[in-house]
């Protein structure tokens, strides 16, 4: 999270030559500007409070309650008991192993795929590049549920256009294709095709933001297309790659809908508590243990926040790189 900090004292630092923007930033802002900044920030702060800070605080408070049991529905202050309940649950580590398995397979494929395709499209001049960008976007334009239904058809050997593939692997019905062991691969394929188009457009936006002077300079230095992509474009769009990784990671950690529906279409042969979010859901609605569900969501929050921080600071997502690329 970034918050604008306003300095009151004048800086005496001499701006380095050639960095006019830095100098402008370090000048003491006028009072009106400060007010303007707060006015502009207000909607964000409000939404952040309502949609994030207050629910997180509330969840933390709930997680500190004593969990009611079947025979003793009393509540009170329970300290960290719920966290112990969650961590010692027999499914807790398994759900994280599941989700990390998906991440390890899916995220690299996603990032390489998106960046590679975006660079290829960006290197294709004129109408062809534009047309391809649209073609890649089509699967992403399918809304989540439509994409899901499409995959249900693809995965079912009785209906699939790629049924020969399943039959060659010795799978004759849907239950044999959709198994807990195959789930990471199935989710990878689903999420990849669903997100690819959207993220190509975003990374492409970053590439379009690179000023022409840089290409001219690279051309003068004798860079070929490959070197241009690898040594010039890629470093400049690092923040966009970081953003792609961050958002996909956040999405991946919250996978709920896909495994939940996969369980439905396989008539129950996928574990009902496959992802951490599903375990939280089971705590709340199977065990009626809201404190444990809240504790589970706090644990998830801490993990995603930590990984998010690493990505933000490593990729210079909110740093100067973004400014340079403009």
């Amino acid at each position: 999270m970034t918050t604008a900090t306003v300095k009151d004292e004048r800086t005496t630092q001499q701006p380095a030559p050639g960095s006019r923007r830095d100098a402008a930033k370090r000048k003491a802002p006028h009072r009106a500007e400060t007010r303007g900044a707060y006015v502009l920030l207000a909607p964000y702060i409000l939404l952040f409070l309502v949609a994030a800070a207050i629910p997180i605080g509330y969840a933390f408070w709930i997680s500190m309650q004593k969990a009611p049991t079947l025979v003793n529905p009393e509540t009170g202050f329970g300290g960290f008991d719920s966290f112990i309940t969650v961590v010692t649950d027999y499914r807790f580590f398994a759900t994280f192993v599941n989700i990390f398995t998906v991440m390890i397979i899916w995220l690299p494929i996603m990032i390489f795929g998106v960046v590679g395709m975006a660079l290829l499209i960006h290197a294709s001049p004129g109408r062809f590049g534009g047309a391809m960008r649209f073609v890649y976007y089509i699967p992403g334009a399918l809304a989540g549920i439509a994409n899901f239904v499409l995959w249900v058809y693809l995965l079912n050997p009785a209906q699939s256009p790629i049924a020969f593939l399943w039959l060659d692997l010795g799978m004759t019905n849907l239950k044999e294709v959709v198994t807990t062991q195959n789930l990471p691969l199935i989710l990878t394929a689903m999420l990849f095709f669903q997100g690819l188009g959207t993220w190509i457009v975003i990374v492409n936006g970053g590439l379009n933001g690179i000023p022409d002077e840089i290409y001219e300079a690279a051309a003068l230095d004798g860079a070929n297309a490959w070197q241009l992509a690898w040594r010039v474009k890629l470093p400049l769009i690092r923040p966009w790659i970081g953003y792609t990784a961050l958002m996909n990671l956040a999405y991946g950690f919250q996978l709920f809908l896909e495994p939940y529906l996969m369980r439905q279409i396989s008539a129950g042969s996928i574990d009902s508590e496959w992802a951490p979010t599903q375990l939280g859901y089971a705590f709340a609605f199977t065990n009626r243990n809201f404190p444990a569900a809240a504790a589970m969501s706090i644990i998830l929050l801490v993990i995603t926040l930590a990984i998010g921080m690493v990505i933000v600071f490593r990729s210079g997502l909110f740093g100067e790189a973004k400014e340079r690329a403009r």
């Binding site: 629910p55 969840a59 807990t180 008539a267 859901y281 709340a284 589970m296 969501s297 995603t304």
Partner: protein, 439 residues
């Protein structure tokens, strides 16, 4: 199938989104001080799954004076949407429907638990109606001697077989479970495409383990369960299943699987609920008339009386949170949907649970003329209810554990013993996770 996408807000998980809905009711989660019983002055709200909508409509026609709101709910067996709504109602202390058809029979477990206590005790409210049920049919509603729900339909397992196939090939219908296993292997050896059972649905547990008397759902008290997969009763069921599976006679698919119809038409015999006849064979798998027939449940060797499982057979509950005219109207509704021929005989597809109207429903079978041996089917249906082995609905979902463990283990190359072991282990884990002490 209705599904809703969860709001994918920032990191807080889906559960938190729902948990935070509770805050605005100004109640802390899990608080369950029994709220005052309320009286709306007559208007009632009922929740029904899609197949039960005609029951509510028939009620509206029969009692035009009673103001009623009919809400259609997600009827997925093993679904969680209703459970989720009730967890929120119980936390908020308001919002319950006045009567409900529970989508899964397991729902009665949480509806009678002390953390919810939704289902009213009907023992003294509807004594005449309760009188009309065979105690075996109503046993699933009996909690510590109090009747907490009513049964829409009886769903005991009978033994189904394809009479046309048996006559054509000269096979004899088995009378014991052991004969069934051996005959299944023999038939598959001679007709490789034929199968004699399905394993992959949530009722598989009832068809085989419950029928063997295996203690998977043995309620000792509200917080104690007896689960023992090494019991001799479980071992005989495991042996039977292993014999059939190794002989290629069992499908790992479930009867509800979308692509099971292809296998379903090759089913030559199987234990199965009375509703299999109309629902599965006639309407879903489209097996021609005059082929399928049923006999009374099978007996285990060395025993004198037959043993059967029970697959579903829906439960109606009435709210414990209402009183006065509102309660009277809810009870009128519950009485109608369980005992009135205008729904039970004329519209319902299942054998009524309420005794006095069973014969009228059975007579309908003659008019329809679907089964190969109609008098045999009628007597099998009547005999089956008394053969059902004891089984309690628990807060852990036995059917879901079964579908997650048994077929997947077999599909990934495990043996039947591996599958049953995996099932037993997961069942004990689930039971302890929900808060039971397992003996």
């Amino acid at each position: 199938m209705k599904t809703t996408r969860f709001p994918s807000a920032a990191a807080p998980a889906a559960a938190l989104a729902i948990a935070s809905a509770v805050i605005f009711t100004g109640c802390s989660a899990g608080e369950s001080a029994a709220p005052e019983q309320t009286d709306s002055g007559g208007k009632i709200t009922v929740w029904v799954d899609p197949p039960r909508v005609p029951a509510a409509e028939a009620f509206q026609e029969a009692y035009p004076d009673i103001e009623i709101d009919v809400v259609q709910i997600d009827g997925t067996v093993g679904g969680t949407t209703v459970k989720q709504a009730f967890a929120n109602f119980d936390a908020a202390g308001s919002g319950w429907p006045d009567a409900i058809f529970f989508p899964s029979n397991d729902d009665i477990a949480w509806a009678t638990s002390s953390s919810s206590d939704y289902a009213a005790d009907l023992t003294d409210l509807l004594p005449e109606v309760i009188e009309g049920y065979d105690p075996a049919v109503l046993s699933f509603c009996d909690f510590d001697g109090r009747i907490r729900c009513l049964r829409n339909d009886a769903a005991p397992d009978v033994f189904w077989y394809n009479k046309a196939f048996f006559d054509e090939n000269g096979y004899t219908v088995p009378t014991t479970w052991e004969e069934y296993g051996d005959l299944a292997v023999e038939i598959t050896a001679e007709h490789p495409d034929k199968i004699s059972g399905f394993l992959g649905d949530a009722y598989g547990i009832n068809r085989y383990l419950q029928a063997a008397g295996c203690p998977t759902n043995d309620r000792v008290s509200e917080s104690e369960a007896h689960i023992d997969l090494s019991d001799p009763a479980c071992e005989r069921a495991t042996e039977l299943l292993a014999t059939m599976y190794d002989g290629g006679a069992l499908s790992t698919q479930g009867i509800f699987d979308g692509d099971a119809a292809a296998a379903g038409v090759n089913l030559v015999m199987s234990p199965g609920a009375v509703w299999w006849g109309n629902y599965l064979f006639r309407d879903t798998w489209k097996i021609p008339a005059g082929e399928m027939s049923a006999v009374a449940p099978l007996t285990w060797e060395g025993e004198s009386s037959p043993s059967a499982g029970n697959e579903g057979g829906g439960l109606w509950g009435v709210s414990s949170h209402i009183t006065g005219t509102q309660l009277e109207n809810a009870l009128t509704f519950a009485t109608f949907v369980n005992t009135d021929p205008r729904w039970q005989v004329e519209l319902s597809t299942g054998l009524p649970g309420y005794g006095p109207i069973q014969d009228a429903w059975l007579e309908n079978l003659e008019a329809e003329g679907y089964f190969a041996d109609i008098p045999g089917v009628q007597s099998a249906f009547k005999a089956a209810a008394g053969a059902v082995e004891p089984y309690s609905y628990m807060l852990y979902d036995t059917g879901s554990v079964w579908t997650e463990t048994v077929s997947p283990t077999l599909i990934s190359g495990g043996s039947m013993q591996d599958a049953i072991d995996a099932f037993g282990e997961e069942l004990v884990n689930q039971a302890q996770s929900v808060g039971y002490t397992v003996q």
